[in-house]
């Protein structure tokens, strides 16, 4: 238990790894802009999501294996692991009728 806690402290004080240049994405009126991004296969990507709505949204994708809550009028980094070529849809879970997008990996 104690070693686990120590491991956590070590993890928490380390700096999180960031991919080179994050992809800028905005959420407004529960829609993503751009709603489609194209990236290279085999490279980790980071999406910097700016939520311009007043309410929180969860960037959610079972295909990308990522779920991240971004509070209203706030922003957050969505880190995505290296992917193989294909189409990976994502959505804003709280407004999935409009908040839809896709990551295309080539």
């Amino acid at each position: 238990m104690r070693t686990l806690l120590l491991a956590f402290v070590a993890l928490a004080t380390a700096t999180p790894a960031l991919a080179d240049a994050p992809i800028e994405m905005t959420l407004k009126d529960h829609k993503f802009t751009p709603a489609q991004v194209t990236v290279k296969a085999g490279e980790p990507i980071t999406i910097h999501l700016t939520n311009k709505d007043a309410t929180a949204e969860e960037f959610d994708s079972s295909a990308l294996k990522v779920e991240k809550v971004v509070a209203g009028n706030s922003d957050g980094m969505v880190r995505i692991r290296p992917l193989s070529p294909g189409k990976y849809p994502f959505m804003g879970e709280y407004h999935s009728s409009t908040a839809q997008g896709v990551v295309i990996v080539k």
Partner: protein
């Protein structure tokens, strides 16, 4: 209203299945309902706090606060589940045999209940904070009328609780002698799935970025978006495209729990015996 119902149902069932397993695993233990209630109440309060401070939480650890938090509480739950299973290996059979009659080892039983109450709390907190954020969002923008939202939310809770109750009642159909070994396995797989999920959160937070490539992809067979896929994800940690680090965490958790369980068995040879002849 339908959107509210679906989301609330999904989150409630995910927490509810875990509560169902905990209830089945503690069948016959005095005052377990009280402890499970503590877990649920603590989880709901925690969910409101997490939702209220979502922005502040996220900004910790250079923007990875949410991921660190999720991974930490999941690993806490993994430790508590492990502890419970190991404790049961030493005392479980005695307990099943004697506890109702003599209340043997009640204080140790209480510790195990406290561990499981924490597991329940973590499950409710994780799913509950999403529900709170979602409902708060709907309420503040006022697109759907408040009453429709309330009805949708209430139906979602009822449906989620209903399905969870069915699973719990199903588990109780297992003969008492076998129930504890079934729940021990369920708890082991639950813990393994949570450990794999914690690894995913750490990777998403920018840590532990090793062995990240997908090892296999079974989304064609059972998508994690389907209801069955979601339920299996909650129960046994099913992932339709796991990566290497997740698989290692999954297998290692099972191995550690099994190893500790055998060790504890060996320390309590009599606790493991067939009921004493009268």
């Amino acid at each position: 209203m339908l959107a509210t119902l679906v989301i609330v149902f999904r989150e409630v069932i995910e927490a509810g299945l875990i509560v169902g397993i905990v209830l089945a695993a503690t069948q016959g233990v005095p005052r377990r309902s009280l402890w499970v209630s503590y877990g649920i109440i603590g989880g709901v309060l925690g969910a409101c706090l997490v939702a209220a401070f979502a922005g502040e939480l996220a900004s910790l650890f250079e923007g990875s606060g949410q991921e660190i938090f999720n991974a930490t509480i999941l690993l806490l739950a993994v430790c508590m589940l492990t502890w419970h299973n190991v404790w049961m290996a030493g005392h479980g059979r005695e307990m099943a045999r004697e506890m109702k009659a003599v209340g043997a080892d009640v204080s140790a039983g209480k510790r195990s209940l406290a561990a499981l109450a924490i597991v329940v709390g973590v499950a409710v907190l994780r799913e509950g904070s999403e529900v709170v954020l979602f409902l708060y969002g709907i309420a503040s923008q006022g697109g759907t009328s408040q009453s429709a939202m309330l009805i949708g939310g209430a139906l979602g809770v009822a449906a989620g609780a209903g399905v969870s109750a069915l699973m719990f009642l199903g588990l109780l159909q297992i003969p008492a002698g076998k129930l504890f070994s079934v729940t021990a396995w369920l708890i082991t797989l639950l813990a393994a799935g949570m450990a794999a999920q914690a690894v995913l959160f750490l990777q998403q937070g920018g840590y532990l970025q090793v062995l990240q490539s997908t090892v296999w992809d079974t989304s064609w067979l059972l998508s994690q978006d389907s209801i069955a896929g979601r339920l299996l994800h909650t129960l046994i940690g099913y992932s339709d495209a796991p990566n290497g680090a997740q698989l290692i965490a999954y297998v290692a958790t099972i191995a550690i729990i099994m190893g500790l369980t055998r060790w504890e068995h060996a320390r309590h040879p009599r606790g493991n015996s067939i009921p004493k002849p009268a």
